[in-house]
């Protein structure tokens, strides 16, 4: 490229336009690379596997207000009725719904209180032997609860001393893989691990303990309870419609609310993240458009300003391709300048974001790809105007205006 030097010199002499374009490209690179990284992180968060067949599962709340309801009996009746609906695989009364952002957690340790030992925070689910089947989660080691082990009660006077735990919790408390059959302690209270389950996310997807859960065979029958139901694939909508009438038919003195598919439940919890992702996405797209428009506009401006010059060059023997190359090289030069500055800005911005917010370090790959993309866009937005410039007739050189 023998043209580089004079193009660069010419650029140096008409700074403002070039600097503006350069700045624009730099800021765009900084924003887009950081935004796409955040977007990618958000998508990874939103799309993470949960362990559930979300499309086939739904949950709902029941709140009773009858004076004389026998909650324990009602719980059994409700569960049985639900399991008999055609299309239902399994149903369970449960104290908290996964992915919902509402539930309970406790610390489980290897030794009782007072003795120093390793402990982990874990989510606690309480329900009967149908929990796992309703979740659609497999037991990897050991076994599920037997029906006889399940405690159905309306108070906390007694609590079961066996539990299922997720593999993530087992691995973290027992790195040697010998969790099955061991006891862990909630306070002073020992719980024996009878089974280890496959992945099942807890109520809080954003929490670091999302993979660590404990299921206890405990049904607390109270006036406010929740149910979860898994249906055969494709039959969920039909089953969901029957829920309210059925539950009210079983006992009229209650309110049945929040009948929601599990993915809707999850959507409610991740809504702010989804929102951020969408806003960033819109911003990246619009910003890219604006920058492309800016490059286009500035090149047009440059060309209009240099119509005569282009004509003169043509008169002096420049081919059309020389003219196109000239403007392409010029904009690529500005662009590369902008990208270098932009990469620095992107990394600085990434560092600032990392420092002030809980955002991971911006991988350089994102800067690289963004730079490549911006370069491509700027070349694309220059081609049109450059072609127009090439079509300037050499005879404009002899016109006096």
């Amino acid at each position: 490229m023998s043209e580089l030097k004079p193009i660069f010199n010419a650029l140096r002499r008409s700074k403002v336009g070039a600097i503006l374009l350069l700045l624009q490209i730099a800021i765009t690179t900084a924003i887009v690379s950081n935004s796409t990284f955040i977007i990618k992180e958000k998508i990874a968060y939103l799309d993470q596997p949960t362990g559930y067949a979300e499309q086939d599962i739904f949950s709902f709340e029941v709140m009773s207000f009858g004076k004389d309801t026998n909650f324990k009996l009602q719980a059994e009746l409700d569960e049985q009725a639900l399991r008999q609906i055609p299309g239902v695989v399994d149903a369970v009364m449960i104290d908290s719904v996964p992915l919902s952002g509402s539930g309970s957690s406790s610390t489980f340790r290897l030794r009782p209180t007072g003795e120093k030992s390793k402990g982990e925070q874990a989510n606690v689910f309480q329900g009967d032997e149908h929990v796992l089947n309703t979740f659609g989660v497999k037991v990897l080691e050991g076994r599920n609860f037997y029906e006889s082990e399940v405690m159905v009660t309306d108070n906390y006077d007694q609590y079961p001393n066996i539990a299922l735990i997720t593999k993530a919790l087992a691995d973290s408390l027992f790195p040697d893989g010998d969790a099955l059959g061991k006891s862990i302690y909630r306070g002073d209270f020992p719980v024996k691990i009878i089974g280890i389950t496959d992945m099942m996310k807890g109520p809080w997807l954003s929490s670091e303990r999302k993979d660590r859960s404990v299921i206890t065979p405990f049904v607390l029958a109270r006036k406010l309870t929740q149910f979860m139901v898994r249906t055969e694939p494709g039959r969920r909508a039909e089953v969901m419609q029957q829920i309210e009438p059925l539950m009210l038919q079983l006992d009229g003195k209650r309110v049945v609310e929040n009948i929601k598919g599990l993915e809707q439940v999850k959507d409610g919890f991740v809504a702010p993240d989804k929102l951020t992702m969408r806003m960033l996405l819109v911003m990246v797209v619009v910003l890219t458009l604006i920058t492309a428009l800016g490059i286009f506009g500035l090149t047009m401006f440059n060309i209009n300003k240099r119509t005569k010059q282009v004509g003169t060059r043509r008169a002096l023997g420049a081919r059309k391709s020389h003219i196109i190359n000239y403007f392409l090289v010029e904009s690529v030069m500005i662009c590369i300048g902008g990208l270098v500055l932009g990469a620095v800005l992107a990394i600085l911005l990434g560092q600032q974001l990392m420092q002030h917010y809980s955002i991971a370090k911006l991988p350089l790959l994102y800067v690289g790809f963004t730079a490549l993309g911006v370069l491509l866009i700027s070349v694309c937005s220059v081609i049109g105007p450059a072609q127009r410039a090439a079509n300037i007739s050499p005879s404009v050189a002899t016109r006096t205006i």
């Binding site: 043209e3 010059q309 008169a315 002096l316 023997g317 050499p394």
Partner: protein
């Protein structure tokens, strides 16, 4: 050197059709210095543009050094312009962002000449027009006469055999105009063929051959060569 046979040029706009050149015939021989005169709007500039292949003609035949220009594509015309023709504009048309050296270098770059050779030629031309010391200056730092000398140096850099000048002194005062004219005469003596459009009768008189364009057609004054007074009388 240059032969035009029945060249027609018609400008077409939505409303009007303008016949800029009608059956224009001209023969220019190697080494000639021709002044083209004529009232404004007569077609002088159109003629020069067509001669310089800056714009296409509507019909007729134009041979430049034996090459049929009408049969060339855009790239071939560009290359031919670059190799055979030097163009001197009324408004100088120096590229404002480039310094003198770079300006003169432009046609050489399009010809793909190596840097060292370019440097040699540019310096030689700058020397010739007496501006060697100002190679790094930008055009706007020069006077009009100096700018036109740079433009001439640029036109000569490619060592063209054919020099087209469009009112080369139009924007200059008379002293500078005379200097530019002397430069052109010197170049002509060195062997280049020159066609110069001007409306300055005094300048035209200094050219060995005068032609006049009236209403898109040619009135040739070759016969009066050596008798400028007659040309003026016509």
């Amino acid at each position: 050197m240059l032969t035009m046979n029945k060249i027609n040029k018609i400008y077409q706009t939505d409303m009007v059709q303008t016949h800029a050149l009608r059956d224009f015939d001209l023969q220019v021989n190697e080494g000639e210095f021709i002044a083209v005169t004529g009232p404004s709007g007569s077609g002088k500039t159109t003629f020069l543009n067509i001669a310089g292949m800056l714009e296409p003609f509507s019909s007729g035949q134009y041979l430049l050094d034996g090459v049929d220009v009408g049969r060339l594509n855009d790239n071939q015309r560009a290359d031919l312009r670059n190799q055979k023709i030097g163009y001197i504009f009324q408004g100088f048309n120096l590229i404002p962002d480039l310094n003198l050296f770079e300006n003169i270098e432009v046609p050489l770059r399009y010809r793909g000449i190596k840097a060292a050779e370019r440097k040699r030629r540019v310096e030689q031309r700058l020397e010739q027009v007496g501006l060697a010391s100002r190679a790094k200056h930008l055009p706007q730092q020069l006077s009009g006469g100096q700018q036109q000398r740079v433009a001439i140096a640029r036109a000569l850099a490619g060592e063209p055999r054919f020099l087209l000048a469009d009112e080369p002194t139009g924007n200059l005062d008379s002293l500078m105009a005379r200097q530019v004219m002397e430069l052109l005469e010197q170049i002509n003596r060195e062997g280049a063929t020159i066609v110069m459009v001007t409306h300055d009768p005094e300048l035209a008189r200094r050219a060995p051959r005068n032609i006049q364009v009236v209403d898109g057609q040619l009135a040739d004054f070759t016969l009066y060569q050596g008798n400028p007074a007659a040309a003026v009388g016509a």
